[in-house]
Amino acid sequence: MNTLEDRLREALSERAQQSTISDDAWARTVARARRRRSRPSAWSRFMIPAAAAAAVIAIVVGASLLAGDRSPRGGSGPARPATASPSATPPAPPGRNDYLMRQAPPVSAVVPVRLSMDGKTTWTFVWFGYMKNARNQGIALCSVTDGDNYYGSGGCGAATVGAGKVAISDGGTGSIRLGTVIGQAASVTAVLGDGRSVPGALAFGRGFPYKVWAVAYAQENNARVVFADDGGHELGQLSFRAEYPTPSQPRSGGIVVFRYPAHVLEPTAGTMKAYLLDGRLVGVTGKVVGFWDSSSGSVIASHPASGPPAVVNMGGEIVNHAKLSEYYGYAHENVTRVVLRLPGGAEYGVQTFAAWPGSGLRLWAFTVPSGALSVKPSQEVLLGYDAAGHVVWSGR
């Protein structure tokens, strides 16, 4: 029987052959690129003058606040927002032939919103329009963000603020959250989980049925986005859960879990190392275990290193082009052997070995021929044995 990977490759390859390619694609692409440069007038009525836009709506998020520096602006209260400097002009807005512009042609002004975080500035162009083939969904808020590797990412989403509500979120992209808010809103602030406040921006332009709010903050923070009127009275708020980036590989403290030669697990040879991390990096209170593969990145446990479960499997799925699959993870100190039991009854296992002194953790790793693995990992059982040979933990 083919492995899941083989089936995937065959299916994707067959499906890809059915894509159609036009003969005039290059000419159309060049024309599309040139149109944006040479025909500014046709839709300039949608734009507000750039300098005015910057002065009215651009608010720079205090980078020092985001970095945790509270002192210059006084405790955890709202930071004094920096205004856009005269030279801080937006880049070229998305052209008429921009993909989203065509999916939801503007029925309002196209307004640039400047945000910055960690010293990097982004410009998000926002407008309202009706999505093609979905006019009955109501008016949509569209956004396109450029700068700092955003590459024009964005999208369009429902914009209507329902009865009795103050604001909605359209999601956003990267570190930017945005959406629509009722006209009474005069300020928007993200209050992060640790109490810090990050001022956001409100944008309004011709034809806007709502104000547009936007705020940029590090996404590993839980956040409440709070809206207030011009008297400072809170109108309402939206909550966002934290999303955690992968931490950097620590410079020390690593323990080699296993090594592998080239063309077995990865095209190049590599070493897998385990590190004991400060759990706050990944949203867990306490310590967590992370594994760094020298050739292909990292995997971080989402479980606290203390407390159950007794065996944590960090790898072992059928990945890459591997002839072998490596099962590895950590276990609590009462687990001396870890065994994988496959649906047919075959077992693969290994003795665990001590990890960091005083951590109460042990590490383990063993290989399994990829061909032996089922495409139904739910039928595989991982067992943890103590020194007396008793099963002290089992899980799928």
Partner: protein, 173 residues
């Protein structure tokens, strides 16, 4: 400042178009297919927009070798944007299978259709990671570049995507 200044590019587009044409010749079909496999409803439109963006930005690329990575990232971003649009549309329309036409469905082998249907049901980022890995055979570093994420996140998306596929296909077996 007037709007003309806003729109002025650094140089004329012709030189940049010339620089991109070689890449276009060799990679355009691949980018169309990538957009198609990621579920774009108009893959050629996505690929053309990605190359048009490259033409506009070609002279600001620090490394010409980065052009292919830029186009790949654009295709992923643009397709994801399109998904966001479609997601809103689908909120109030009957669930269907917009991923392939009936003609395509008839042509595809039955087992391949099962795999592709399960793939289409994955969250966009997992689907992207799977397609970039198993169709383009990219390394995790290259996939991370295309998706604008970390290699660790790629590993996680591939792994969880495969697990979800296995589960979905297993249930149907």
């Amino acid at each position: 400042m007037g709007m003309a200044n806003l729109r002025a590019g650094p140089t004329a587009g012709d030189d940049m178009a010339t620089g991109v044409s070689g890449l276009f010749r060799t990679r355009y079909p691949e980018m169309v297919r990538l957009a198609d496999l990621l579920g774009a409803d108009d893959p050629e439109d996505i690929a053309q927009e990605a190359f048009a963006r490259l033409i506009r930005k070609y002279d600001s690329l620090r490394d010409p070798d980065a052009a292919l990575a830029y186009v790949r990232a654009s295709v992923c971003n643009l397709t994801r944007n399109r998904h966001r649009h479609l997601r809103v549309v689908r909120l109030r329309t009957p669930a269907g299978r917009p991923e392939e036409s009936s003609e395509q469905a008839a042509i595809l082998r039955e087992d391949h259709r099962e795999v592709l249907t399960a793939l289409a049901a994955l969250p966009p980022r997992r689907r992207e990671a799977i397609v970039l890995r198993y169709w383009l055979d990219l390394s995790e570093r290259e996939i991370a570049e295309a998706m604008g994420t970390s290699p660790g996140a790629v590993k996680s998306n591939v792994s969880r995507g495969l697990a979800a596929l296995a589960e979905a296909l297993g249930e149907k077996a």
